[in-house]
């Protein structure tokens, strides 16, 4: 586009204004596209909530329970929302880095568990040292643990062309049983009560500080870690060669291959990054929330990460927002169950509806018709970018 505009003009000044104009048009288009995506996702969320409300009414519960729960967790129980948002944002980031490259890491849950195991094992064996140093060591080992766990399906895919979808799913169960084995066997706290299977309490110098403002809640400074990871992801995606390769491979694998990119290396790198982020979730849950290793501390963040990443259109900035929204939903569900007797499993249903509608692009035809129809009547100019836009935003 730029070359075309530049060629015929001979005066450099003119060319510059031309490109500037084009660039401005481009940004405007991007903004418009982003706005369209955001609007669409909000419409989808509303649609899912509406369905859920109808569902609640059908099963003779308080129809507005879920909306009330959402509102309360935003206005009254922000601490709980933050507590859940931290792992969810990170899970969304772990997923979005792989999905961008068209790799399906469904094993984030297993990687979280292994990260938590590594964090606990290291934290329990560290001698007394300053908090910051201890946390650095613990988090690095958790990242290593998660990354190694993610390396298995990545390596299997590269070496044997094993479908990572199924292998990661299976590895989740292996990780779960491994965790069970550890906390019933070698890592079990000998001082614990008979039926209570958990590791020993971590020494206090390995605890990740919680926010003092929200005193009784477990909301913790992991929030800053999550935001930092999101910022790193933004940098990685849009400012580095690796990010460029990830985006190209995701957009068009053949083009990437012709361009001389190495898909195998990319698979391994992406899986390692994803696993390392998952490991951070494990470390935060252990060091800040539980302070020990127990079974079932992970309610399935990995799969929720898929919802988050999809809602955000695999965009790391968007993940922060959609992760926060899912934190609201999580917390709202828990509060709802506590106060109104409506099962918190409702949130799972809402998430499932959101995924189906997004992936099925249910709302898209409606919007497209509206958007295109209006534009077509108003002006003829707008048509050149509309079809691309609707095609591009889907996946």
């Amino acid at each position: 586009m730029k070359q075309k505009a530049g060629k015929p003009s001979d005066a450099p000044v003119q060319r510059e204004t031309g490109t500037a104009l084009l660039r401005a048009a481009q940004t405007r288009r991007q903004v418009r596209e982003a706005a369209a995506v955001v609007l669409r996702q909000i419409a989808l969320i509303l649609f899912a909530l509406l369905l859920a409300t109808a569902f609640l009414a059908l099963s003779r519960y308080d129809a507005f329970a879920i909306l009330e729960g959402l509102w309360n967790s935003l206005t009254q129980d922000l601490a709980g929302t933050i507590r859940w948002s931290i792992p969810l944002i990170l899970a969304g980031l772990a997923i979005c880095v792989t999905y961008k490259a068209e790799i399906y890491n469904l094993g984030v849950d297993g990687q979280i568990l292994i990260g938590a195991v590594a964090a606990t094992a290291v934290a329990l064996s560290l001698p007394e040292m300053p908090n910051a140093l201890a946390l650095t060591i613990v988090f690095l080992s958790a990242m290593l643990g998660g990354a190694l766990m993610a390396l298995i399906p990545g390596a299997l895919k590269v070496l044997f062309n094993t479908d990572e979808v199924v292998s990661t799913l299976l590895l989740n169960f292996l990780a779960e049983f491994f965790l069970m084995y550890l906390i019933v066997g070698p890592m079990r706290d000998p001082a614990a009560a008979m039926r209570y299977n958990a590791s020993a309490l971590l020494p206090e110098y390995t605890w990740l500080p919680r926010f003092q403002v929200f005193a009784p809640s477990t909301a913790n400074v992991g929030l800053y870690i999550a935001l930092a990871v999101a910022a790193i992801m933004v940098f990685l995606f849009y400012k580095t060669r690796l990010g460029y390769e990830i985006r190209i491979v995701g957009a068009n694998a053949n083009l990437a291959r012709y361009g001389g990119m190495n898909p195998n290396r990319l698979t391994i790198t992406v899986m390692l990054i994803s696993g390392a982020i998952a490991g951070i979730i494990g470390a935060i849950e252990v060091c800040a929330v539980q302070h020990k290793l127990i079974a079932g501390f992970n309610p399935g963040f990995g799969f929720d990460g898929i919802v988050i990443s999809l809602l955000a259109n695999n965009n790391p900035v968007g993940v922060v927002f959609s992760g926060f929204f899912l934190g609201l939903l999580y917390n709202g569900g828990i509060n709802m169950e506590r106060f109104t007797d409506v099962p918190s499993a409702m949130t799972d249903i809402v998430m499932a509806i959101i995924i189906i509608t997004i992936s099925a692009k249910l709302a898209l035809p409606l919007l497209k018709k509206r958007y295109l129809g209006k534009r077509g009547k108003d002006t003829q100019r707008g048509t050149e970018c509309s079809p691309q836009q609707t095609e591009g935003e889907g996946e």
Binding site: T162, F178, G185
Partner: protein, 322 residues
Amino acid sequence: MQIVFSSTVFASMLRIATPLTIAALGCLLCYKTGVLNLALEGIMLVGAFASVAVVIWSGGNVWLGLIGGTVTGGLIALVFGLAVVRFQANHIISSIAINMLGLGLTTYLLRALFETQGQIRPPAIDKLPLLNIPLLEKIPVIGKALNGQSPITWLAFLLVIACYILLYKTEFGLNICAVGESEDAARTAGVSPERIRWQVIVLSGLLCGLAGGYIATITVSEFTENMISGRGFTAFTAVVFGGAHPVFVWLVTLLLGYADAVGIQIELVGTGIPSSIVKMFPFVLALVSLVIASGTQKLKSSGGLRRRSCDRPGRRNARKAK
């Protein structure tokens, strides 16, 4: 040795493999048409819940329960079909959504309908009559294992045969393979890929519902939250490892069932191996088989192995059809 090769192990292998076989057959049909059905986990869970619910409402009738589970499985599959066929959504992501929906829906309905949490046990439940076939008892080791199985185990065996015939001896099966191999060619020949996929997805939903119902009403006679716990995914690996051929897939499910049965036996005997390690067996086996299957596939496609004509029955049929 006694642990690994006794008739009790074989008997429990058959019992454990039954739902795997049934679900895997459903998944296989989808696989043949190019639909990646990982939703069987969620569909099985819903089937399990529905069958227990029907058993409770009908005062303990297992047959009605199984039918209820089957039908509900088919209904949930409609949602999957809607996403995958009608709206051409990503198969993997839709599958995950269905699994999430299954988990959420069953947990929710458990509270909403029965006002209980975690699990529910029907107050009364008829046991299905166990089939004893005198002739089979003469066979050493296996004979004892084959006797006293539930009719559903035999049904699973019949379904394997039916699936084989359906795939390789009927026009419908030919269409299924055609859609999977080349959608455009099938369309040109006047076969609607969408229609075939719809039919296959609903079929697989029915089968998965039955499998879930079997686990809930016959294996454990109760419903527990998330009780399928990975059986759907192992069934999927069976399809991949079995090369999507009904008989091979059936053998693989038997193998997976065997791993599970040996694990249970080891736990019962008490050899000191922790139970969590033992529970890993079927998953490790599934993973290894997946790697082997994909490894040989890779070799095959790169010309390292001579292409084995797995699809020969289909081709023969094609010639006959002409």
